[in-house]
């Protein structure tokens, strides 16, 4: 508990507590592959419920293409690091586990960064500094510490995919709102899907600018609370 609070990048002890509690309740109930998968998407959604990893959620949601690229990257790193960490969990001394986790995560991020730079240079350029910053994303280290270090490989993989998809959904929702409002049309990897008449001639550029990101996520959270998905404080 203390370690989670100290070493996790977010100084939000509540989020950590919440995550730990979820893990505890998971242990009591029968935990299966699909259950871990669904859990990350809805009940423990990393962005809207745990409020983890906010930086990329705001920074790269100005276009849907960026959001998709970022989600794929985070899912890759989460899956890779969760599998490796959970398979070495019995030989890792608990004193040095955080540095070990960090090295594993950093290695996967380096692999990802080099692969994207080689094959999708345009995406590498538009994600910029936020791609290497996956290494300090709270979600990745949080899952390693709270789940992968205590559970078998298959369950950890399911947890990674679930949390990754949960993260992707959050990114997608916010980027869809921002791109459609901010440009009046929807473009995915250079292909235009549709255009909103009227809005595309006079787009609300505010939504793709930084202040728009804060506004969209704040209003989304308030709506999720009204809908009963998110808890009140």
């Amino acid at each position: 508990m203390n370690d989670c609070k100290n070493k996790n990048n977010c100084p939000q002890a509540e989020a950590c507590n919440q995550q730990e509690q979820h893990i505890k309740s998971d242990k009591k109930s029968s935990s299966g592959f699909t259950k871990e998968l669904v859990k990350g998407i809805i009940t423990v959604n990393p962005v809207f419920i745990l409020i983890l990893g906010l930086c990329p959620v705001l920074a790269i949601t100005n276009t849907v293409t960026n959001a998709l690229g970022m989600s794929a990257g985070v899912i890759f790193v989460l899956l890779g690091s969760n599998i490796i960490i959970s398979s070495i969990r019995k030989v890792t001394p608990s004193m040095v586990r955080i540095p070990v986790f960090i090295v594993v995560i950093a290695t996967f991020v380096t692999i990802l960064s080099l692969v994207i730079e080689a094959y999708v240079p345009a995406l590498h350029k538009s994600l910029g500094i936020y791609l290497p910053l996956i290494v300090v994303n709270c979600i990745v280290l949080g899952r390693a510490e709270a789940f992968a270090s205590k559970n078998p490989v298959l369950l950890s993989a399911a947890d990674a995919i679930g949390e990754g998809i949960g993260f992707a959904i959050a990114l997608l929702v916010i980027s869809l709102i921002r791109e459609i409002m901010g440009t009046g049309k929807l473009e995915i990897f250079g292909k235009q899907l549709f255009e909103v008449p009227g809005l595309s001639e006079h787009p609300l550029i505010f939504f793709i600018s930084p202040p728009g990101a804060f506004l969209v996520i704040g209003v989304t959270m308030a709506i999720l609370r009204l809908a009963g998905v998110m808890k009140y404080e």
Partner: protein, 191 residues
């Protein structure tokens, strides 16, 4: 000299880490509830940024570049930052216990704060010299402290306001940040 000033002003106002680049948001929303906490956090972040920038830019310019190991920077930086913060924490604990009590709890949290990692990576992608890296880090730290203090002042008042139930806490903090960011857009094109 002019270049250094441009880097500094650019970092504090135009490319503000929080409001324009969205870095360090976890600590920004987590620690901005009280003015005094926000101030300690700002000072701690600035301190760690400076130390981390000096050491990583030395490593980058004198070890990684000569041996063509630039692609290793993510792994090396994160290890250097994590160990540095531990050392700083121990030193502060031994030399100044009052200071440790004031900002001790924040130091470990900064270890993997995105700001520190982002600034050190930025220093190497921009190929800044050691001096330029220090100025860059100082600008980022001052910008962070500046914004988190403004935010905590507003949030202290906001607690007393009668906001709708669904907006209370984080959502209204995000809206406040949106208005602050809008104000900072005005600095665009200044340098």
């Amino acid at each position: 000299m002019n270049n250094l000033f441009t880097i500094f002003i650019g970092m504090v106002l135009i490319n503000n880490m929080i409001l324009a680049k969205f870095l360090g948001l976890c600590s920004f929303f987590g620690v901005s509830k009280k003015l005094s906490d926000a101030f300690s956090m700002g000072i701690a972040v600035t301190l760690v940024l400076l130390i981390a920038s000096i050491s990583t830019s030395l490593i980058f310019n004198y070890i990684l570049v000569p041996y063509e190991l630039e692609y290793m920077n993510i792994v090396i930086y994160i290890l250097v930052i994590a160990s540095l913060v531990q050392i700083v924490e121990v030193i502060i604990k031994r030399t100044n216990i009052a200071l440790y009590n004031a900002m001790g709890i924040y130091l470990p949290l900064i270890t993997t704060n995105c700001i520190v990692m982002a600034i050190t990576l930025l220093n190497s992608t921009e190929h800044y010299s050691v001096l330029e890296s220090v100025v860059n880090a100082l600008g980022a730290g001052v910008g962070y402290t500046f914004v988190i203090i403004i935010m905590s002042g507003i949030r202290e008042k906001l607690d007393l306001a009668d906001t709708p139930k669904s907006m209370r806490g984080l959502p209204v903090a995000f809206l406040t940040a949106a208005l602050l960011a809008l104000a900072f857009v005005g600095f665009n094109g200044m340098v």
